[in-house]
């Protein structure tokens, strides 16, 4: 098997896994929400309701396609697709496990290890908001438009703080490659212990970037009915909802990679390379990812949401200055260590 083939297979697997995780995130969300609310949650579709995502998928697939008369037809179709593609693209640079060495060949569990991986993630994630913006604008509905505008301004504001929180991290790791960042965190040297403030800012921004509560203003039901996807039905809506869960999955993966040592875990990292290590590292990675997904949901079902101007205040007046302070502090510590 050529290297290209292996990569292709891997990419397909990653896509498949992202979709699968996203699918079951919807199920998990409903179950977790139910459990947090003293309910049982879906339990009729299959045992414990585990076929629920399939039911939703099939139902959405067979629902009537609907394009409002006054909508911009092409943009209306493009929005969800664009959102979905950008959501899926991000996973390309995330290392999902330790290298698998077989017959002397090294198979990296990462689609591609580019040396500006972090920048790539930022680039693609910020493209994602175009999907929302296009969809919301094209549907020619005031609620959608408001949602889209909210999404755009929210993403732009929080990207700044997010980027700045990463600057401090990069100053420390002096690399942009995700694989290297993960490798540096072997053992207990997780970045979260060195960059707690950076982590806090990053996770808040991650919530905002994925439009999750308490920052779910673009689609908050009680204010904007459905927000940017008010006019979407059928699979186009499915794409939006799905892509959101994929985004959540990717954000969790990035959080785990940058701050929680990715696939590293003290005992696992010190094992000999081999199949067991690879599998265990993948398990570790997904364990961390699931923890963060759970956190996302837990927070969503606990907190009230912000108001638009408060959101902006938090982003611009609190998080960005904090991120700057964090950079300065990190710089000072690095300088002190060098001296």
């Amino acid at each position: 098997m050529s290297a290209v083939m292996i990569k292709l297979i891997f990419i397909v697997v990653v896509f498949g896994v992202s979709l699968f995780v996203a699918m079951y995130s919807t199920y998990a969300e409903r179950k977790i929400a139910a459990f947090l609310q003293d309910r049982l949650g879906p339990n009729r579709a299959g045992p414990f309701g585990i076929l629920q995502p399939f039911a939703d998928g099939i139902k959405l697939f067979f629902k009537e396609e609907f394009i409002p008369l006054k909508a911009d037809r092409w943009l209306f179709l493009m929005g969800p697709g664009f959102f979905m593609i950008t959501a899926l693209m991000t996973s390309a640079v995330i290392p999902f496990g330790a290298d698998f060495i077989h017959d002397g060949k090294t198979i990296a569990l990462q689609a591609t290890d580019i040396n500006v991986g972090l920048l790539y993630i930022f680039g693609v994630v910020s493209l994602g908001v175009y999907g929302i913006l296009i969809g919301g604008w094209a549907s020619n509905n005031k609620f959608s438009l408001l949602g889209a505008i909210r999404a755009a301004s929210q993403n732009i504001s929080y990207e700044l703080a997010m980027g700045m929180s990463i600057v401090a991290l990069v100053m420390m790791t002096s690399t942009l490659s995700l694989r290297e960042i993960v490798d540096q965190q072997a053992g207990w040297h997780w970045n979260v212990f060195y960059q707690p403030l950076g982590f806090l800012i990053f996770i808040i921004c991650a919530f905002a970037e994925t439009n999750r509560a308490p920052f779910d203003l673009p689609e908050c039901e009680t204010e904007l009915v459905g927000g940017y996807h008010t006019e979407f039905s059928s699979m186009k809506l499915g794409f939006y909802l799905f892509a959101e869960y994929i985004n959540m999955f990717i954000s969790s993966a990035v959080l785990a990679t940058l701050f929680f040592g990715g696939y590293q875990f003290p005992w696992v990292s010190s094992m000999d390379p081999g199949l067991t290590k690879t599998i265990l590292s993948v398990v570790v990675m997904f364990g961390k990812i699931f923890f963060f997904i759970f956190l996302f949901m837990w927070v969503r079902w606990t907190l009230p949401r912000f108001r638009y101007d408060q959101l902006m205040n938090l982003g611009w007046k609190i998080l960005i200055p904090l991120a700057v302070v964090n950079i300065v502090l990190t710089g000072a510590v690095i300088l002190y260590k060098m001296m």
Binding site: I32, F35, L36, Q37, D38, R39, L40, W298, V299, W301, T302, L303
Partner: protein, 170 residues
């Protein structure tokens, strides 16, 4: 804006300014998350309805039934008070004279040959039960009017309202 005092029972809810801990969001958030997490492992309150039934009170006002007396004769004497008392005007009836030989079927000399309740109109207020001087109409505490597909299904005639005779004996 001041407080106007009319009585001595007034209790002014002074607003405390936010403390620093409240200002930085996180403690309140973590506390809230603690509360929700404590419910995560709690016993669930849900009653899985079609399989489990929630116990209802003795006096619950459910589906109507037209009662029979101890001997199995219909109690209703078609006096029309229930129809009169019904705020929704959901009850219609036609009275008929009892004929010779029907004494075991109807308790009084008059009986309702047609007795219909429109369950879609009915608001289950229980006024008909209260109005009945013969304890003939009764709102069961364990049965509810079921949902159905057609509007015609909800006009309950005597066939569905009168208590089954055999059940009474056993």
């Amino acid at each position: 804006m001041g407080v106007i005092k009319l009585t001595d029972r007034i209790k002014v809810m002074e607003r405390k300014p936010m403390s620093f801990m409240e200002r930085i969001y996180l403690p309140a958030i973590l506390k809230g998350m603690g509360i929700t997490m404590s419910h995560f492992f709690k016993k669930k309150a849900t009653i899985s309805y079609p399989e489990e039934q929630r116990p209802m009170s003795e006096v619950f006002r459910g589906l109507h039934v037209l009662r029979r007396d101890e001997k199995g004769a219909e109690r209703c004497t078609a006096c029309g008070l229930c129809a009169l008392a019904c705020p929704a005007e959901a009850i219609t009836m036609t009275a008929a004279e009892r004929k010779r030989g029907e004494e075991n079927l109807y308790r009084e000399e008059k009986y309702a040959s047609v007795y219909e309740i429109n369950m879609l109109r009915c608001i289950f207020c229980g006024l008909c039960e209260e109005a009945c001087p013969k304890a003939a109409i009764f709102l069961q505490n364990d049965k509810m009017a079921p949902a159905s597909y057609e509007r015609e299904d909800f006009i309950y005639g005597k066939d569905r309202l009168v208590e089954p005779f055999l059940l009474k004996q056993s």
